[in-house]
């Protein structure tokens, strides 16, 4: 095959067009554009020091989402003894943690008073768990059908009508929040907290915030909540660790947390880093246009080189063959010439000898004739 210029350019053109379309749609993932969240989007501030583990929020959540009633009623607090995660029928759960190193004696007193179950030097802390509604959600970034979206209100929404059920969102979520209806054969959905988006759109509070009896949950604009949280830390440096969980974790979340002890002690990972999920995958996505752009050119080049090598090898082979043939011909010609020479020589000598023979014979005959003549003349004289 020969690569014509037109064909080569055609391939390059195709590759470039391919990379352009892919780059065009993925450029956002690969750019260094930073998304700081929608302005005025809402969030919830969860002050762990104020939570008493009454599970009222769980109940409200269950009711507003018309979930099936749990096995044990919501006022059964014994369930708190075992750490739980969100499930497809519980978008939020409250967990109890015993912290052995309280931040201050002040704190212990308060908890003793409120909860009455702190013993010795340890205190019980209650932490509510639900979707954190990331500013740049891993689930939305991972979803290959755009079933997840970050709403302008701050809620991360899920559209079951698009979902294929690959569950990559569950792999992607660092907080282990999305759950799946594994027992649903035909219409399984990913289930998670919606931030009660329908209520927010009606101007109401999310159900859990609404019901919280201790103001452990505050709803408001995220920027305002951060200010509020900072103020609390400043006012009571002995009561809180100097960290607002969710301000920067995984690129920032709409839910924010204040805690009296380090967050890892209350089951929240502090090693997640501040990179949002899209930043983690941007590099790999940006390699796409490089591969699409470079590979065809390189491979066509390699092909052309190997093809050319083959051609040259073929030519060289032919040349070598021709040379060998020429040489052989020459040798034959030489041999022939020699043979000819020899033959001619032989012929010549043969002719010579023959001629000589004839001549000799002629001479002999002449001699004989002469002798005969002489004899005859001698006889005549007689």
């Amino acid at each position: 095959m020969t690569i014509t210029r037109r064909k080569f350019l055609g391939w390059i053109g195709g590759a470039a067009a391919g990379s352009a379309t892919i780059a065009g749609t993925l450029a956002h993932g690969a750019s260094n554009k930073e998304f700081k969240g929608y302005p005025n989007s809402f969030g919830v501030l969860h002050d762990i020091t104020k939570c008493i583990g009454c599970r009222k929020c769980e109940q409200a959540c269950n009711e507003i989402n018309t979930m099936p009633a749990p096995e044990k009623p919501f006022d059964d607090l014994s369930i708190l003894e075992k750490e739980r995660r969100t499930t497809s029928t519980a978008h939020t759960v409250v967990n109890k943690f015993i912290s052995s190193v309280p931040n201050s004696s002040n704190n212990v007193e308060q908890n003793k008073n409120i909860n009455g179950d702190a013993s010795g030097n340890s205190i019980a802390l209650y932490v509510k768990k639900q979707c954190n509604h990331c500013l740049e959600p891993a689930c939305a970034s991972a979803c290959f059908v755009k079933a997840f979206k970050k709403d302008k209100t701050g809620a991360v929404t899920y559209d079951a009508s698009l979902c294929v059920g690959c569950r990559y969102c569950m792999v992607a979520c660092s907080f282990n929040i999305p759950t799946y209806e594994y027992d649903e054969p035909l219409t399984p959905r990913v289930m998670k907290c919606t931030l009660c988006l329908p209520l927010i759109q009606e101007g109401k509070l999310p159900a859990c915030v609404q019901i919280c009896p201790r103001e452990a949950l505050i709803f408001g604009e995220r920027t305002e909540l951060i200010k509020q949280a900072r103020m609390r830390i400043q006012k009571h440096p002995d009561k809180y660790v100097d960290h607002i969980y969710g301000e920067h974790e995984m690129g920032g979340t709409s839910w924010l947390y204040l805690s009296p002890v380090s967050f890892s002690e209350v089951g929240m990972r502090e090693d997640l880093g501040t990179n949002s999920a899209p930043e983690l995958t941007a590099g790999a996505l940006s390699a796409v246009p490089i591969v699409v752009g470079l590979w065809p050119v390189l491979l066509t080049g390699v092909y052309a080189i190997s093809k050319r090598k083959e051609k040259i090898a073929q030519e060289e082979l032919e040349q070598a063959l021709a040379a060998a043939r020429d040489e052989a011909e020459e040798i034959t010609a030489q041999k022939l010439a020699e043979l000819k020479k020899k033959m001619t020589k032989e012929k010549e000598t043969a002719v010579k000898t023959e001629v000589k023979k004839v001549l000799d014979e002629a001479a002999k005959r002449e001699k004989a004739a002469q002798e005969a003549k002489a004899d005859a003349s001698a006889e005549e004289e007689k």
Partner: protein
């Protein structure tokens, strides 16, 4: 004299046709005429039957009835083995065809068709198995045709696997066309070989690597020894020797069970293929070890090597990459085909171990033991079922179509056809 010659010719022609028909098993097909109830076939039948029952259970009872998946472990054996291992082990298609057609290593020509067939079946089964794993399989076209989520690496995987499956299908069709006697269209498709091969390499590079990149989004879940920014590179590079190992391994199986299907060319070239691929695989494995070490150094993960996870990591890397690399090298130097086959088994197992480590073993490593995932027997049975379908399909196709031998009508004609086809376009 003249009449006798023509009769003789006719007779030998008939013989030839008969032979070729025998080869393509149109006349004497054991699979069609009667199924021999050998132990192997009985086991196959049992596996297929169990798979069929479990398929019903899966689609009428939901994922929960057959799998051990839960909210913490959304991906199990069907992703770890069927998808990740399936795609990696089907890499022989792009490796062999690019070696032969792009890099001009013509002596691998007889290895291309079996490799393309394996790759095509592999990818087809990956997609087939995905239907079991995703919640609503009838929506699998959504990401490509309805609502593409282009920021997702899974989208890249999906699009490339979809396109590559089509490429492999087209690359496979000449064998089918030869079998069906459709000469014109067969020659047209053969003319596309170069274009398809290059497209195949581009797509393979993209999706082999992005299968690794899938896990980039979860640094908090994957053990640091396996998590690396190089994951896409690791997956791509390892797919190369996975493909080569699989070509060698599959070749040894084919020699054992399908020897009678192979023609002179295939038999005379096969040792060269094994040794050539051994050498190449050895080099690539050494390179892979190198970039693994660079990855370790860049993230400064050396201290993890002295934990039990580190032992497991070294077990994978030394036992299933360094060791086969060494055996491959020795095999290539001593021209020892048997040794190369031993190495290929290690190579294939190594890829399976690596992919399972990343997707299952080292994934969610921080969860307490009682929350970790282990596949149910039904998940394993479905995976075995899927592999069995692949083997049955391979046996059927090689029984009918010119895969392990050249079709008599196209013998030696392949190259001239190639040239002809290329000059046309």
């Amino acid at each position: 004299m003249g009449l006798q010659d023509t009769i003789k010719n006719r007779l030998s022609n008939n013989e030839l046709i008969k032979n070729s028909l025998m080869k393509s098993n149109l006349i004497n097909n054991p699979l069609i005429n009667k199924i021999e109830w050998t132990p192997l076939n009985i086991i196959t039948a049992i596996i297929l039957f169990v798979g069929f029952i479990l398929t019903i259970a899966r689609f009428f009872g939901g994922l929960g009835t057959v799998t051990n998946l839960d909210d913490n472990n959304p991906w199990g054996l069907w992703i770890g083995f069927d998808l990740l291992c399936g795609v990696a082990l089907a890499a022989g298609g792009y490796v062999t065809s690019s070696a032969c057609y792009i890099f001009g290593l013509k002596r691998y020509h007889s290895a291309v068709r079996p490799a393309i067939l394996t790759a095509f079946l592999g990818y087809a089964l990956v997609v087939f198995a995905l239907n079991y794993d995703v919640g609503r399989p009838w929506r699998l076209p959504y990401p490509i045709f309805y609502s593409p989520g282009t920021s997702s690496l899974l989208f890249e995987v999906g699009l490339c696997v979809f396109l590559y499956l089509n490429v492999l299908f087209i690359e496979f069709t000449p064998a089918a066309f030869e079998w069906l006697g459709l000469k014109k269209i067969r020659n047209f498709v053969v003319g596309l070989t170069m274009l398809l091969t290059i497209f195949g390499v581009v797509l393979s590079t993209l999706h082999q690597s992005s299968l690794g990149a899938l896990f980039l989004i979860a640094p908090s879940k994957l053990h640091p020894l396996w998590y690396s920014g190089y994951l896409p590179v690791y997956f791509f590079i390892s797919s190369m020797f996975a493909g080569m190992s699989m070509v060698i391994f599959e070749g040894s199986l084919a020699h054992k069970y399908l020897h009678h299907k192979m023609d002179e060319t295939h038999l005379s070239e096969s040792d060269g293929v094994v040794l050539g691929f051994s050498k190449a695989a050895s080099f690539v494995m050494m390179g892979y070890l190198g970039i693994k070490l660079i990855g370790l150094s860049i993230d400064n993960n050396w201290h993890h090597l002295f934990t039990s996870w580190g032992l497991w990591f070294l077990f994978e890397l030394i036992g299933f990459v360094a060791l086969p690399a060494f055996i491959y090298a020795v095999a290539a130097r001593e021209k020892n085909v048997k040794l190369a086959r031993v190495a290929s088994i290690l190579g294939v197992l190594g890829i399976i171990l690596n992919r399972l480590n990343i997707s299952l073993v080292a994934f969610n490593w921080q969860l307490p033991l009682d929350q970790r995932y282990f596949p149910s027997w039904m998940e394993i049975a479905i995976s075995v079922f899927v592999v069995t379908i692949g083997i049955v399909a391979y046996r059927l196709i090689t029984a009918y179509m010119p895969i392990l031998y050249e079709h008599p009508d196209y013998k030696h004609g392949d190259d001239s056809n190639n040239k002809h086809g290329h000059q046309e376009d």
